[in-house]
Amino acid sequence: MLEIKDIHSYYGSSYILQGVSLKIKRSEVVSLVGRNGAGKTTTLKSIMGIVRPAQGSVKFKGAEICGLKPYQIARLGLGYVPEDRRIYPNLTLKENLEVAQIKLGSSKTKWNFEKVYQFFPQLKALGEGRLGSNMSGGEQQMLTIARTLMGNPEFILLDEPSEGLAPLVVSALADAVNEIKVEGVSILLSEQNMKFATKTTTKSYVIDGGKISFEGTIEDLMKNEELVKEHITL
């Protein structure tokens, strides 16, 4: 469904991605693990068109999307959940969700307020008029995921959702990710937290210094103690 071939990306003048290739099939949930600065976020941003790769190919549902603008890529059915919970602080909870629906016009979609609130009852409990700035970290993280779902994506790029959250919240998030998976949405998850990755994904890539250093099942990865020690914090 999503195939990335040998992409090279720069951030300013620093050479971040030095030939990354990934392949994710429909309904698959794959994790991309690695340390800070390994190139996880840049990989997701390169897929989304936020960072434009200098070279390489990104194919989504068989069509080349490398070089398209982020809004065009989003409209093809790719959803992006940024790290650091970038919700709109100046918008209400409801408006945060509405923004992602604007591109869809009035057509009926799979995800709507009702369904999203059913997924994240904590959000409904906050009240639709709550300002984005007036929410806890965990609530904001749920809102960023809910917001992306409102755009009705077939594929979600999920960037370090567990970062900086309390263990209980992380566990609730893992449940939510698994439920999204059941809905048939494919996910590429960038993570440092192996607990979260093993709970939600079966296949894994390890990225290090802008290159993929491991590809396989998550069990194989966990068995490889050296790799785990070197690249991942448990």
Binding site: Y71, Y80, P82, E98, A100, T148
Partner: protein, 291 residues
């Protein structure tokens, strides 16, 4: 003091304040969504007044007056779209200095064109007959046209609010103001939002020029003077806050109205005295965010 006179002064101040809000709101909207400080905003207000003047000459007629003001705002808005596409769009990523250079150049171009097209002599508008004269409020005369400005501005302010908070475009533009990257990744064509928002901000300028300058005579180059007032308003209110702009505009209008009446010697300097005092206490403006 006579309460009737106080009431008239207050109404005068509100009318003036609401007009200042209308004039400054477009400037603040463009700044908060696009991050562009448009120094030519005052010149576009002036342009709206000149279009209104010409349309009044060409179309004339008492009953077309309101349509003509709206039409002038629309024409200035279309000019805004062209300015965004051909000039402003190129400097979003550039340093702030380029904004100053570009929009200052626009002032000179607009002023030059106005001088070329309308000439240097002051022009005054022919108000429709039903706006001439005064109504009696608490036994005192109050100009009918000031009343029209007051209610017209309130109506437009409500429309702007509904637009920002009730329409998809308004919500998308508030989202883009907060985070361009994410808004784009959520499927919104941000350049399109920017262009539309610039056009709306500029159309508000044109509209406020037609509405507000109909009572005074208009001259080429008056845009710079108006721009100074607009900047005072948005700086006092806090950059990026429309509510702040409203409060600041009303404060300024009311102080000016009372100042004109009771301390005419310092009335001219009043906006700047108020600005200095408020900024001393709150450097970010009344409702500006502390950064």
């Amino acid at each position: 003091m006579d309460p009737g006179i106080l009431l008239i002064d207050l109404l005068n101040g509100l009318s003036r304040g609401m007009l200042y809000f209308l004039m400054a709101s477009g400037l603040n909207l463009v700044f908060s969504v696009l991050g562009i400080i448009n120094f030519a905003h005052g010149s576009l207000i002036m342009l709206g007044a000149y279009f209104t003047w010409t349309l009044l000459q060409v179309i004339g007629g008492d009953w077309s007056f309101i349509v003509i003001i709206i039409l002038s705002g629309g024409i200035v808005g279309v000019i805004g779209i062209l300015i965004e596409i051909f000039f402003v769009r190129r400097i979003y990523e550039s340093e702030h200095l380029y904004q100053l250079l570009l929009t200052f150049a626009l002032i000179m171009i607009i002023d030059g064109l106005v001088l070329e097209i309308w000439g240097g002599q002051p022009r005054s508008m022919l108000l429709p007959r039903y706006f001439l004269g005064a109504v009696s409020i608490a036994g005192r005369p109050f100009p009918k046209y000031s009343l029209f400005i007051l209610f017209g501005s309130i109506a437009i302010a409500i429309l702007v609010w509904l637009f920002l908070y009730r329409t998809k475009f308004g919500k998308a533009s508030r989202a883009a103001a907060a985070d361009v990257e994410i808004t784009s990744a959520l499927g919104i064509n941000v350049p399109y939002v920017y262009c539309g928002m610039f056009a709306i901000g500029v159309a508000l300028a044109g509209f406020s020029g037609g509405l507000g300058l109909a009572m005074s005579s208009i001259t080429p180059g008056m845009g710079a003077h108006i721009a100074v007032t607009c900047f005072a308003v948005i700086v006092i209110g806090g950059l990026g806050s429309l509510t702040g702009t409203l409060i600041a505009a009303l404060i300024l209008g009311i102080f000016e109205a009372f100042g004109d009446h009771y301390f005419p010697q310092v009335a001219m300097a009043l906006p700047f005295i108020i600005m200095a005092l408020i900024l001393l206490a709150r450097p970010q403006g009344l409702l500006g965010r502390n950064e």
